[in-house]
């Protein structure tokens, strides 16, 4: 630094100390002409304006300082000073954008997104849609391939009636989908654009403009329809020389055969290969005529295997709706196909449509029953029970789940509930007399040992039968829920240790099942009897799922879908933080500390503290920050926690002990400080100035003592206890 500069700074400091802030600022400003890009000068001037309570000027100067630091490549200082500016005047929305931009430059994408979102929200609150759109576009630029965000931006523009802008965003989405080969998605977006602007036409040459029908998007597929020129090498490759039939063993089949466990339909004897793939060369190109939207040939009935194959391929590309189209079309022709219903169950499961999964489980249960396969039927029923007990949604409660099972329905079978006990008319249930007896005895009996109950009465099995019976009576889902809950309670009772006073009988209010409509009419919630429980049970055992789920499902969401998409992106970026991030946070902490922003510095150091590379340095800085903040107790706790919670190297332990000793010294706890100095001295007498610190305390007649359990002793005790716990006596 030149002599002139240093003298100016000296003078400015003197004036500032006397409270002559304007004059001090004037001195600093003399240096601006010489170093117009020095952010430190602007920062100092800003501090003086702040002291002079001229907040607007302070903010403006801090912004200049931030821009200067950013231009000079001091991104972290730039971030620190922008934050300082926002602290002074949080209404300066444009500073959030600047801050976000620097964060993005530095690679702190998560922070950048957070700041951009704040700016965007502020603009929206000010009804400045264009400005907010500009910000959202900057967010999407951070992840140009993120179509979710682009679509959400487009939708937002649509809602605000900014058609041109919406179309612009949709075009970007189209470009991405085209690059990814997602032609079906491209079509969907084109449709949306056409709705907005009927005159919209896509550029010539792009595949989707020629497509008039949908098809399964195959990898590396260039054509939208399967048209094979008889003279083309591809055609020749799939037609064998000898017989002019397609050789089932030919590798040409492979691209259309998905990698599927259920490949039994690919056996040479299968329908697929014998019926469908015998092709004779003809003059006309071979073309699969596909009906739009369904992929089903309009001219012939497809085989089940075809449907399943196509559905499988759609699934592999996450086109579940189209897979379901295939499967539902198949179910019209093959309603009793177990394979089909298994596939439907799988796809509905992926889609998360529990209601449909339950339906499929019921259908499968009846189909297995017809086949006489009890094992599989049982497995399906187990699955059904799990689904109905865990994932009943309000949809199931409000409408009747249609369980049209092809089983004989005997509406005469009534299962009356009487007040006081659940009493089944076992005589008419068609069950074996032994099992009837067992169930009756079990349910009517008094306090029972859990184990005895399960051994003697086989409750588990009986309750399963009860559940099956109720299912077969086409009961509404509410009854299923009730019965499942009953089963659960009994199961719980069995598992519990025997409690002498507990009765396992469950009281129901006076309602019979005859009063419940078995003809698939929706039953109002109020009609469903709420079972009352035995003395020791509380009402809380019966959880009102409907009200809870309705809160969860229909709870008002304050965040828009665009913000959700952006937050998802933010979460992803933050999960990928690594060593570089630790370094950045540490340096940011230093920058904040230099700016006097201790709370921000602490946050940054706490993040840096998580990583191994800066653990010790960040710890030291945290201790310094807390000490400067006056929170020495917090600093002490921090070090103690670090020493006990983390495995430290010998050097790290000595350093931490030293820092702790300094804090104890500061706190006035000289005895503990001396204790630690002596411990350090024993291990390394030349560590920093431990020798002199120790001597000072000794000379002042302080005695090394530790009146509370020392960390080491505590940890040794804990270690001993832990070791002792590892030894057990049989």
């Amino acid at each position: 630094m030149s002599f002139r500069k240093s003298s100016i700074i000296e003078k400015a400091k003197k004036l500032a100390s006397k409270g002559q802030f304007d004059k001090a600022i004037h001195e600093w400003e003399k240096m601006v002409s010489e170093s117009p890009d020095d952010g430190n000068i602007f920062n100092s001037i800003g501090d003086l304006y702040l002291k002079a309570n001229q907040k607007k000027k302070a903010t403006d100067i801090f912004v200049k300082a931030g821009e200067a630091f950013q231009s000079a490549g001091f991104e972290l200082k730039s971030i620190a000073v922008f934050k300082k500016a926002l602290k002074v005047d949080p209404s300066r929305v444009e500073i959030y954008e600047k801050l976000a931009s620097v964060n993005a430059e530095r690679g702190l994408i998560g922070n950048a997104i957070g700041d951009y979102l704040k700016a965007a929200k502020n603009y929206l609150q000010q009804d400045n849609f264009q400005a907010s759109l500009s910000v959202y576009r900057k967010i999407s630029d951070l992840d140009p391939e993120n179509t979710d965000i682009l679509v959400q931006i487009a939708e937002m523009c649509q809602k605000q009636d900014y058609r041109e802008e919406a179309i612009e965003e949709y075009k970007k989405v189209i470009a991405i989908f085209e690059a990814q080969g997602k032609t079906a998605d491209v079509e969907d977006i084109v449709e949306i654009i056409v709705d907005l602007d009927p005159s919209f036409t896509r550029e010539k040459g792009s595949p989707s403009s020629e497509a008039s029908s949908t098809e399964i998007p195959m990898p590396n597929e260039e054509e939208s329809t399967v048209i094979l020129d008889p003279e083309s090498p591809e055609y020749e490759a799939i037609v064998s020389d000898n017989e002019n039939t397609i050789d089932p063993e030919s590798p040409a089949y492979e691209p259309i055969i998905p990698d599927n466990e259920n490949t039994n339909f690919l056996e040479p004897e299968s329908e697929l290969l014998t019926d469908e793939q015998t092709i004779y060369p003809s003059e006309e190109p071979f073309q699969v005529d596909r009906e739009e939207g369904t992929g089903v040939s309009s001219s012939e009935v497809k085989s089940l295997e075809n449907y399943l194959t196509e559905a499988e391929v759609y699934c592999q590309y996450d086109l579940l709706d189209k897979a379901l189209d295939q499967l539902n079309a198949a179910s019209e022709q093959y309603p009793s196909s177990i394979e089909l219903h298994l596939k439907l169950k799988e796809v509905y499961g992926k889609q998360g449509t529990t209601e449909k999964v339950v339906e499929e489980c019921s259908i499968l249960a009846s189909l297995y029953k017809e086949m006489g396969d009890e094992t599989k039927r049982q497995a399906i029923l187990d699955e059904l029970m799990t689904l109905t007990s865990k994932e009943i949604e309000s949809d199931l409660l409000s409408e009747t789940a249609s369980l049209e099972i092809e089983a004989p329905v005997d509406v005469e079978k009534e299962l009356p509930l009487i007040h006081g006990e659940r009493d089944f008319d076992f005589a008419n249930t068609g069950r074996s007399s032994t099992s009837n007896k067992n169930s009756e005895a079990a349910l009517n009996t008094g306090p029972l040992e859990g184990e005895k109950l399960s051994e003697e009465f086989s409750i588990e099995e009986e309750e399963m039968h009860l559940l099956e019976e109720d299912l077969s009576l086409s009961a509404s889902s509410q009854e299923i829920e009730q019965l499942v809950k009953t089963d659960e309670i009994l199961q719980e009772k069995i598992k519990d240790d025997p409690i002498a006073d507990d009765s396992i009988s469950i009281d129901f209010e006076e309602t019979t099942l005859t009063s419940i409509d078995f003809e698939n009419k929706p039953v109002a919630e109020a009609d469903i009897p709420e079972p009352s429980l035995g003395e020791k049970e509380t009402k809380e055992e019966y959880v009102d799922l409907q009200s809870i789920l309705s809160e969860d499902l229909w709870q008002e969401d304050n965040e828009s879908t665009l913000e959700k998409a952006i937050r998802n992106f933010q979460d992803k970026t933050q999960k990928n933080s690594d060593t570089q991030e630790i370094e950045t946070q540490y340096e940011l902490g230093i920058a904040y500390k230099e700016m006097g922003m201790l709370p921000e510095a602490i946050v940054a150091f706490e993040l840096a503290f998580q990583g191994e590379s800066r653990f010790l340095d960040a710890m030291k800085m945290l201790v310094t920050c807390h000490s400067e903040n006056g929170s020495i107790d917090v600093a002490v706790e921090l070090i103690q926690k670090a020493m006990t919670d983390r495995p430290c190297s010998k050097e790290a332990t000595i350093t931490l002990k030293y820092e702790l000793a300094l804090l104890y010294d500061q706190q006035g706890n000289k005895e503990r400080a001396l204790f630690l100095y002596e411990e350090i001295f024993k291990v390394d007498p030349r560590f920093r100035d431990v020798s002199s610190k120790r001597s000072v305390l000794v000379e002042n007649d302080f005695e090394s003592s530790w009146d509370a359990p020392h960390d080491e002793e505590v940890s040794k005790d804990e270690i001993k206890k832990k070791k002792k716990d590892r030894v057990s006596y049989l």
Binding site: V727, S728, Y729, L730
Partner: protein, 273 residues
């Protein structure tokens, strides 16, 4: 004044209770430890250490437990003190020691819990090791079958749990109750009694740890100690402890052969002669 003060010892050098600080790493103990740790590290399934009474099996078990790094091993030591424990009880104990907080009363559920826990341990990068001391007391066939069952739990060819049995020579007979289990013994080691040289080194080691500044036992006494103890560490401890007491009572600074003979006679120890 007691004999500790008389002989200027910090603590009793020949206590018969197991104390890892006094572990004497003789050649055979060292070798045994290496082999057993090898079995644990390489998930060999079953390792066995046998030896006569007083040869240091329990000490070795404790030593091994200490040496199994907690960052790498999920280890536990079960000491059988009653012969009539059931296999179900054993399983529960193993489950608790491996960290299952609420082991099921029902066996199939318990096994399921054990399996899950073992997989969890494996996935955390650790190896599950259970040391069983006095294993010869588990002389029920069904107990051996339980061990065999657990040793069948494997993932990708690796056993999820390793057992190390410590026991008397009759442990071999116990294992023979279940031939398949016996065949699964991957490592076996037998501890033998100390040689005279090892006895001398053992005594010297313990005295040093206890803070002795000089040799308290004359050369002739060492031979006698070896003779009467037959080289068994536990008996060595008993003889030496009593000898030091005798020496204190008669104010002898060094224990000689005669004193050892008297002590042996008092203890009714037969000689090899």
């Amino acid at each position: 004044m007691n004999y500790l003060e008389f002989y200027r010892l910090k603590e009793q050098p020949f206590s018969i209770s197991v104390d890892n600080r006094f572990f004497y790493n003789s050649d055979q103990h060292s070798e045994a430890l290496v082999r057993l740790k090898y079995a644990a590290e390489h998930r060999k399934g079953l390792a066995v250490l046998v030896g006569d009474v007083g040869t240091g099996k329990t000490t070795l078990a404790r030593r091994m437990l200490d040496e199994l790094d907690e960052n790498q091993f999920e280890s536990a030591l079960l000491v059988v003190i009653h012969a009539s424990i059931s296999s179900h009880w054993l399983l529960r104990k193993i489950a608790v020691q491996l960290g299952i907080e609420d082991p099921s009363d029902e066996k199939s559920s318990l096994l399921s819990q054990l399996y899950d826990r073992l997989v969890e341990i494996r996935d955390s990068g650790k190896k599950a090791v259970v040391l069983i001391d006095e294993a010869q007391m588990l002389h029920h066939k069904e107990t051996m079958e339980e061990f065999r069952g657990m040793l069948n739990i494997e993932i990708e060819g690796e056993k999820l749990i390793t057992f190390v049995f410590f026991g008397l020579m009759s442990l071999d007979d116990t294992l023979a109750l279940d031939k398949p289990l016996q065949q699964r013994v991957a490592v076996r080691y037998q501890l033998r009694s100390f040689s005279e040289k090892a006895t001398q080194a053992y005594i010297k080691c313990r005295l040093e740890i206890a803070g002795a500044k000089k040799q308290l036992f004359a050369d002739g006494s060492i031979a006698a100690i070896h003779k009467y103890s037959e080289g068994l560490p536990r008996l060595i401890n008993t003889i030496c402890d009593n000898a030091l007491l005798e020496g204190f009572l008669v104010k002898k600074e060094t224990i000689d052969e005669k004193m050892i003979q008297e002590v042996a006679s008092d203890l009714k120890l037969s000689t090899a002669d």
